[in-house]
Symmetry: C2
Subunit: 355 residues, 2 copies
Amino acid sequence: MTETQVISIDGMGGDDGAQMVIAGIELFAKSHLDTRFLVFGDESVLSPLLDATEFAKTRTEIRHTEKSVSMEAKPAQAVRQGKGTSMWGAIEAVKKGEASAIVSAGNTGALMAMAKLILRTMDGIHRPALCASWPTSEGFSAVLDLGADITADAEQLAEFAIMGDAFAKAVHHKENPSVALLNIGSEDMKGNDTLRYAASLLSGSEMTLNYTGFVEGNDISFGKADVIVTDGFTGNVALKTAEGAVKLVVQLLKDSLNSSTMSKIGAMLAMPALNMLKKKVDPREANGAVFLGLKGIVVKSHGGTDAFGFEKAIRVAADMGSCHFAEFIEPSLAQLKKVVEENEKNNLSATKAAE
Amino acid sequence: MTETQVISIDGMGGDDGAQMVIAGIELFAKSHLDTRFLVFGDESVLSPLLDATEFAKTRTEIRHTEKSVSMEAKPAQAVRQGKGTSMWGAIEAVKKGEASAIVSAGNTGALMAMAKLILRTMDGIHRPALCASWPTSEGFSAVLDLGADITADAEQLAEFAIMGDAFAKAVHHKENPSVALLNIGSEDMKGNDTLRYAASLLSGSEMTLNYTGFVEGNDISFGKADVIVTDGFTGNVALKTAEGAVKLVVQLLKDSLNSSTMSKIGAMLAMPALNMLKKKVDPREANGAVFLGLKGIVVKSHGGTDAFGFEKAIRVAADMGSCHFAEFIEPSLAQLKKVVEENEKNNLSATKAAE
């Protein structure tokens, strides 16, 4: 991208709030001289932090808001009382066309509800989905939906596949990402009707998407597909379960290396190697989930991240914000529409023939 | 248990077949002098292997079968051609009362289909579920359903909870296991109607089960509940996804420790500590999934395990086979039935009142 991009940021979101946010912007600003920032929040808190930066201060505009959304607020309540908060303002900047994407480390439920209300769902998309980067042996895969909704029908899964494909291209810089549906077996007949129908839609002769079939849970971490599509309940459980299991293994590794003097010396000698592993399992590296399918790019950063992690989330926002998402997915959505219509026509004639 | 227990075993199942099976029996026989074995399979293969053992040979009877089920057979096909196979014979021994449990490392789908046909579902249970041990920071938790079926309604989830409770008592020797439903949030209002209704059933005042609420995916590996209940699709995805993620981390650890001479020396010094970790993430330790809810105990061992892992599966079979499962869960099933009936009565009167 050569044009200047503007990213809108909720300055008050996250466990460490403004301090972490401004430090993250500074990190990003340092290596991206063509990006400007609109930061929403309490000016008396944000201004002194921004003044202390070297790169961010000349390219950041603070928009004062009186309120912010608490991390504990229920989504419905947050939306009702949302106007005038830093989150609301940051999202509205995208709606107004002032920014190409918005990043918040705040309350996830509130962000999704507010973004849906303000930005509205895209034409051709039935429901938005939460998409994030999953660390694999091959780099990263895109996984969605991670919990925007708890169910998805076949057509929605196919739309998720199209949006995930765009994410993998824009954020992971993959040319022709392979796309798979998450199932409990890789054979064609496995799973439920919804999955089988979604597979038939994605295999439609009109579709140019690189759909490769079903994958199982253990395939995700080994990068068997660049895009993994599932419903929000399954995706959320899969992500959190894997995170928990990895966290336990890392904790057990630490405990065992601390268990004797000899193992401590061993760990010291192996430190550079162990740091490689640490970087690979560092959740900050994969920070930045995108709420895909709205008329505007909304990026959710982990609430508990630090400046390093927040910078990654801004990076995702910049990549997605400059990829012209809507135009990007338009051809695939048109293909999907054709496949769906043809299927419906065939079913109709099959029904008529049976009558 | 003081009485002699008989375990029935499919001698031909698993990637390494008879050799691994007999070696596993020998390991178990060595430390359990009160157990006898019925092993089904090709006598010409099994006899020489058994003759070479020290402990197993005096307490094992070989029952010759001409056929065995291939690891690739489709369940329906395996059932149709099942009579006369080692798997069929081993299951039938439980049906006939000759053995208290059966263990097979063979084809999972075939084992479940055949066991269901031969043993039939227990009274008071709508559908069987696959339950296994999940390694946690606290030891092990029981997780079910891991894929016996792809859906489960609220009453079935409640039945799974009751069966999982019995498994945790018998296999993990827990006195009053905590039981939780897997969800995408721990708040009462999260998830779908099925989960909320299952929660209300398990919270019924008649229930003596130690139901503690919802848990999320990341809670599983930290042992937040002793029994984790979910439908077979979600459970299968969660288990396989966690296995894949842990496998990747362990592989990355090995790679990084092998990356330089210094790290190799470090790893050597830390070897005893690293072996502790290895033991903890060793899938053989958790081997032995039980297909719960049939009129007989059916244990599935990993196909790719070795003698050490197969011995763990026999251990699970012995624990479950001696726990008098049916009588064990009867009181809880009766309580559940009351709660369901009362709910239906209340709904009926609510409907009538509304008319």
